[in-house]
């Protein structure tokens, strides 16, 4: 049998990185979740299940449901928009392909918070869009574009769309479009060919896109905070509230743990996918 020494040496740096910056912090958060909270804020001595028990709070199930729903709708919209974009991008001549890819990437040069802030202006109650919709009667006088789940979803789709386009495009670029001709030749209608040949052909890209959008969405905090309202808060906002307002670090940690476990579920799914 071959020695595994070179293999271990080669992976050591990344392993160390993971240990220092992922495993250890997560372990610390898990540990804090089992500590008592001090009334003045801060973490008390000894161990307590109080923070874990606080997860039974009846506000959490609906919060979790809302978090998953907003994440799911955002992911679905991102996929629905990214698929045609990636398809056409893959069919473009290489010169145009790289030009448009740059256009997709350029927004990243602006700070994320500034981009969300600009959405606040776009969707503002006195903004051009709101006024325009109001003038044609699509928006009531007291209706708002900001401060609701729809605003959170719109801005989230805007933010995560490039992350969905890029992996799907990478898979579509390698896809052999002659396979679609073959499917048509064998009697498939255009949509059937798309569904039973193109989608399976870019499966890896789709799975990556779903994970890359859905997982960060579960932990969303900035977008619901800036464009959402009280009825569109997500788990991330609750964690922040427990941490900054209530000064209850163990409860914030317990919520974080629950979120981490939630995020791990699709990751494990992916693992199974790769093995299969």
């Amino acid at each position: 049998m071959k020695s595994r020494k070179p293999e271990l040496l080669a992976t050591a740096p990344s392993f160390l990185w993971l240990a220092l910056f992922v495993f250890v912090p997560v372990a610390i958060i898990f540990a804090i979740a089992f500590r008592p909270a001090l009334p003045a804020g801060g973490i008390g001595e000894g161990w307590s299940l109080e923070a874990i028990r606080s997860l039974k709070d009846p506000i959490y199930p609906s919060l979790l449901l809302r978090t998953v729903t907003i994440s799911f709708v955002t992911t679905a919209l991102c996929l629905a928009l990214a698929l045609p974009v990636a398809w056409h991008l893959a069919k473009l001549p290489p010169k145009w392909r790289s030009r448009i890819l740059i256009l997709i990437i350029i927004p990243f040069w602006t700070n994320f918070v500034i981009r969300v802030f600009s959405w606040q202006q776009i969707l503002h109650a006195e903004g051009a869009i709101a006024n325009g919709l109001r003038s044609i009667g699509l928006l009531g006088d007291s209706d708002r574009l900001l401060g609701n789940s729809a605003a959170v979803i719109i801005v989230s789709v805007y933010t995560y769309l490039p992350f969905a386009i890029l992996p799907i495009f990478a898979a579509a670029e390698k896809f052999d479009f002659a396979l679609l001709d073959a499917a048509r030749d064998l009697g498939a209608k255009p949509f059937r060919a798309f569904r039973s040949v193109f989608l399976p052909g870019i499966r890896q890209g789709l799975v990556t896109a779903i994970l890359i959008v859905f997982i960060p969405m579960l932990g969303s905090y900035v977008i619901p905070d800036m464009v959402g309202g009280t009825d569109s808060q997500m788990l991330g906002n609750k964690i922040a509230q427990r941490n900054f307002n209530d000064r209850n670090l163990p409860q914030a940690a317990a919520l974080s743990c629950a979120l981490t476990l939630l995020v791990l579920a699709p990751m494990l799914l992916r693992r199974k996918e790769k093995a299969g």
Binding site: R184, D185, G187, G201
Partner: protein, 379 residues
Amino acid sequence: MPGHLRFENVTRRFGSFTAVDRVSLEIEKGEVFSLLGPSGCGKTTLLRMAAGFDVPDEGRIFLDGVDITRLPPDQRPVNTVFQSYALFPHLTIRENIAFGPKLSKRSPAEIRSEVERMLELVDLTAHADKKPTQLSGGQKQRVAIARALVNKPKVLLLDEPLAALDLKLRQRLLVELDAIHDEVGITFIYVTHDQGEAMSISDRIAVMNKGVVEQTGKPAEIYEAPRTSFVAAFIGDTNFLDGKITSRIDGRFSKCAIEGIGEITIDNDKPTNPGDLVHLSLRPEKIIVSRGKPELRENENSVPGVIEDIIYFGSHTRLWVRCGGWRLCAETQHRTYQLDDTPLKWGDTIHLRWHANDGYLLEQYREEDESLLTLPDEE
């Protein structure tokens, strides 16, 4: 009686480039019909229009009298074997073959038995549950053929099906393809740039060049009686001679003066009159090489020359011989190998002899086609 598959004045342009230029063809039921030509001659575009992937700018395509010009590919009783195979990588071999039948309204039991029959036909039953990436090139090709044939098409379109394979495998698959054709009996349209493939598998060949069909005919007709210099030079190898008819011998033969060689006898493959300028194609293997001056029979020609180049091919040797202003290519066979036979070498003077009947008068000659020859004369 119109043909089974008929192209009527089909034209296809891409921008200012005319890929297919007013092509009319009639393909009979059950024949193997090849579209032969160099890359860019329009043969694949023509095939794609038959399959429905492309639509002609002008002209129409009929299948059994029905206009299919604008019918989408999924509604044509026609299937294609793609050059790159285009097998679905996420499906097994069996699922690949079942793809077409599953889209039709056939019962699952019928589909299953049809797929098994096809697997048997192409001898892949043992590999039915593998994925395409696990197969060799030749096996993939056979899957592609089975996947198309299982739909019982009226016409099978084959787009350079053997181009990606090596020579020996290509020859073997060609024989297999021929056997499959004998078994299923449907019309095959075979696109290739390889004249050997086209000659050996086809009932008829259409030779294409620059979007135009230069000649259609049986392999032997194409080879022995090329209409144009392109056909003569693209299929096999040949020598081009041009001269002027000087006198008529009888209804069949004439005398022709060739500059630098003298007067030779030619066969009037087309009507000629004294004074006409003619172009003659003379295949290398028709020329008989001898060291001494040969005795000529009636209507035979003989020209002396000096060997300029020799290439040994194993089964035969090719000689390029300087005869006056011409350089002629001649082929010698090695039926018996005699050690004491002094081999021909550079600079030897030899005599080339051929019968007037072995040359062929071209209807159309273009100087550029000389460049298709194995060793074009630089002069």
